[in-house]
Symmetry: C2
Subunit: 390 residues, 2 copies
Amino acid sequence: MNDTSSQLSLPLQVVAAVRSVVGEGPAALHEPRFRGNEWNYLKECLDSTFVSSVGKFVDRFEHQLAEFTGAARAVAVVNGTAALHVALRMAGVEPGDEVLLPALTFIATANAVSYCGATPHFVDSEETSLGMDAQALREYLNGSTEMRGGHCINRQTGRVIRAMVPMHTFGHPVDIDALLGVAHDFHLQVIEDAAESLGSTIGGRHTGTFGVMGTLSFNGNKTITTGGGGAILTNDPELGARLKHITTTAKIPHRWNFLHDEIGYNYRLPNINAALGCAQLEQLPGFLLSKRQLFDRYAAAFAGVEGMHMVAEPAGRHSNYWLQTLALDEAHAGYRDEILGATNDAGLMTRPVWHLMHRLQPYSSAPCAPVPVAESLERRLLNLPSSAGL
Amino acid sequence: MNDTSSQLSLPLQVVAAVRSVVGEGPAALHEPRFRGNEWNYLKECLDSTFVSSVGKFVDRFEHQLAEFTGAARAVAVVNGTAALHVALRMAGVEPGDEVLLPALTFIATANAVSYCGATPHFVDSEETSLGMDAQALREYLNGSTEMRGGHCINRQTGRVIRAMVPMHTFGHPVDIDALLGVAHDFHLQVIEDAAESLGSTIGGRHTGTFGVMGTLSFNGNKTITTGGGGAILTNDPELGARLKHITTTAKIPHRWNFLHDEIGYNYRLPNINAALGCAQLEQLPGFLLSKRQLFDRYAAAFAGVEGMHMVAEPAGRHSNYWLQTLALDEAHAGYRDEILGATNDAGLMTRPVWHLMHRLQPYSSAPCAPVPVAESLERRLLNLPSSAGL
C-alpha cells in the first residue's frame, strides 16, 4: 500500500487493496467461467434428447472426476448435500448416532447428518488450515468418551460416535494424517467433505480420497459448476457400485422390469448438468492456476495493510484457493462489520464465514466441544472476490 | 386391422398396430422434444453466468407453472421425489406415521414416505382411472381403523394414518372428489402425486391443486422436462413461502450473513434446469394436443385387435395422455410377456407397469389392504411409445 492509502481508515484500506487486485467495477464473490466446450456439450445433449437420467455425459463426467482425483470411482449426484447424506448412510451412520463435524462449516454438513436420524457433534478448528484440529479432538475424545463394544461412546449422551466429517475449508486441506490417526484410535469412519477443495492435494494425493468416502460439490459458486451437482469419491470399487445403485433408486437393471431391492434415493445428476461438468473439468487446471495467482496478488496487496493477512495454504499442502480469505488479527476483529459494509457498498462482494453451527437455532442443543479457535476465526475471517476470471 | 394382420399371432398383431401408428424405425417409450426456446434460454443462462441457485429462470418457471396450473404458488425443486418428501413433511407426516398410497405406483412415492420416517400403507386401485379406489378405501378404513384423539388409527399397528397420496396414473385423473370425501371423514391430509399429470384436469381444475399440496415431475421421460426437476403446488401462499424456505436450506435472507432457522433441504432447482423448463412449458399446449391425437390413433389401430383396448381418460376428466396404456383382457393377460418381447425386439419400446409396491423387497412387510384390482392391472397393462413427437 502506498502512503496515501495508509492514511485511509482501515475499511477503506481494505477496499483499496481489493480494488488494486480486481480492478474497476463490481466483483462477485465467485462467478463461474464458461469459455470451453460448454456450448458444444449442451447442444449435443439437446440434439440427442438425452438430457435426463440416461446419457453419456454422466458416465464421462464420473470417469473424468475419477481420473482427476485418482479415486477408484466417482458417483455424480444432484448436489453436495445429497453426496454427504448418502456417504454418511453408506458409512453406517444410523439413527441415534453422533457424527463429529467442525463447528465452522456450512449447515449442509450438519443437515446431512440429521437426514440420517443422527446428531452432529461439533468440534474445534485450527488456525492454520481452518479445519478440524486433530490434537484438540484427541484430547477432547479422551476426556469425554469411552470405548464400549468396539464403539466410541459419548459418556454424556450414551450415544455411539460413529464417524467424523473433516472439511477442507475454502479449499485449504486439513491435517488429514493426524485426523486419520484419531479416527483409527477411536474407531470412527472418516468421510471427507471436499465440497470446497476440488484440486486441493496433500502429498500429491487429492483431498476426498483419504477417508472411506469423500464428497464434492459443483454448485454455482464452486471452482467448477454443473448448475447444481455433487459427487462421492471412493477407492473401493464395490462401495462405488453400491453408491451408484442407491443413488439411482436401487433399481435392478432389466430390459423393462421395475425391481428395486432397497430404499434408494433419486439423487442422480441429470445428463445436461453433467455435460456442463465435463466442459468445466477440462478447464480446471487453468482455473486452479488463476486462483493461485489471484492469491499471490491479494497477498502482495495486503502485505502493507496493518492488522490482517491473507490465509495461505498450510505448509506442505496444496490448496485450490477456492475462496480467498482475509484474516484480521484479534485486535482488529472489531473492524469486520465495517469492512463488510465498506467493501459491499463499493460493489466488492465480501462475506464473513458461516455462523458457527452450535449457535444456529436448529443445532443449539447438539453436543459441542469447547471451540475457542472456531469462535475466534468466526469473528476475524472474511472471504474476498475469488472468481478464476479476476 | 386388416385381414392379413388378423392371421398373425397376437404379439405380432400388437407390433403391427403400434407400427401402423408410429411408422417405421425404432420408437422410444417417451422422448422429449426441444423445438422451442430451449437453446436461447440456455445461452442466456450461460452468458449471464447464472446457472445455479441464483437466476431469473427459477422465478419465471415457478410463475409459469402457477399460472398454467392455477395454483397460488409453485416451488421448483430438484426432482419429483424431493417434491413429495417435502410435501409430506410440510403436511405433518411424522416418524412412526402411516401414509396411504396406491400399491400400483413408482417406488419414489413410497420412498418419500420412508424418508419422513413413516411407513407406506398400500391400497387398491380402480379399473377406470388406474388410481386409488375411493369406495374400496372407505370400506377398508371402516373395517381396519378407528378414530382416536382426532386421528385415524390403524387398529393392527396402532399407528396414526396421517395422509393419503393419490397418484394420477399415466396422466389419468383419479376420482379426487370421492377421495377428498374419504380424507375428510378419516382426518387425512391429501397430497396429490401429479408427477405424471401435468396438463390433466378435473372439471377444468388442474390435478395437483385439490389436495393441501400436489407434486410434479419434470424427469426426462415426462410430458415436459428440465433434465431432472419437480415442483410442489399449493393454494396456500403462506405454505408456499414455507416450502420455498425449507427447500433452500432454510436460510434467512441477509446481505451476507448465514443464518438458518430450521433443518432445511438443498432441493432448489438450478437455474439452468429451470431455463429448459421455461422453454418446454411454452410448448406444453402443443405437446398435449399431439398426445391426445396419438391416443386417438392408437385407439383406432387397436379397435380391431381382439382381447385388448387402449385405456381412455375417465368420463368427465381430462387426461394429458402422458403414457399410452394398452390393457389386455384378463383372458389374454398371459400374452403380456410375449407382447413385451415382440415389441421391444421390433424396436418399439414398451414396458409393463411397475411391480406392485407390497411385493418389492423393501416394502414387503409394510401394511397392505387387499389389492385385487391392482394385481389384475399389474398382469394386464403395457405402456406403448408415447412421445409427443410421434
